[in-house]
């Protein structure tokens, strides 16, 4: 699964730490999501989408192998 978390974060001009604080997760989690190492849970995905005021589909997309 690919995501646009980093792009959206940079568009919003906020740091990983600021986004982490907003979502009540660690900076490590944001880093792992941005680098594609970790696929967040449904709850966290919804929170991320809400933080950027977008729909989940606009942030996360399935890839061929998924």
């Amino acid at each position: 699964m690919k995501n646009k978390v980093k792009e959206e974060r940079l568009k919003s001009n906020i740091t990983q730490q600021e986004l982490a604080d907003k979502l009540s997760v660690s900076r490590q989690t944001i880093f792992a999501i941005e680098t594609g190492k970790y696929i967040p849970s449904t709850i966290l995905s919804l929170k991320i989408a809400k933080a950027f005021k977008k729909s989940v589909e606009e942030i996360f997309a399935l890839e061929k192998g998924d």
């Binding site: 997760v25 660690s26 900076r27 490590q28 989690t29 880093f31 792992a32 970790y38």
Partner: protein
Amino acid sequence: MKEKYFLPNHYKKAGALMMPIGLIIWSLTQIGLVHTLITIHWINVMVLTISFFSFLIGMYFISFSKEKFEDEYIDNLRLHSFQLSALIQLIFFVLSFLYMFIFKAEPSRDGGLELFLIISIFIFWLFYILHFNFSLFRNKKKIYEE
């Protein structure tokens, strides 16, 4: 594995102190080094018992204490480390029994069986502690490198 099983984060520091000290003293006692320094039997037994329990409790503190920031990613890392540790333990068991079967070398002399069982159990926890903490350390390092 929800938070009710976990201890506060400061237990991890206590565990990081207790576990190596306990292991070193226990190992020294096992190889008989403490016997040469202290000749009174009951003191030796007490040192052996206290050091072993210090090692055990330290290991429990490290394994079951919360991180400073507990979230789903940490849970995921923890689960991954548990799975890998279980696999390592299974491989260790299979290889050990294969070795014993092929070479007919049963660990019976000088508490060999006892040591084999202790290693078999602890290999799981030691690998779990090493893998989980190394994963955390590696992630933190990557973040600072970025």
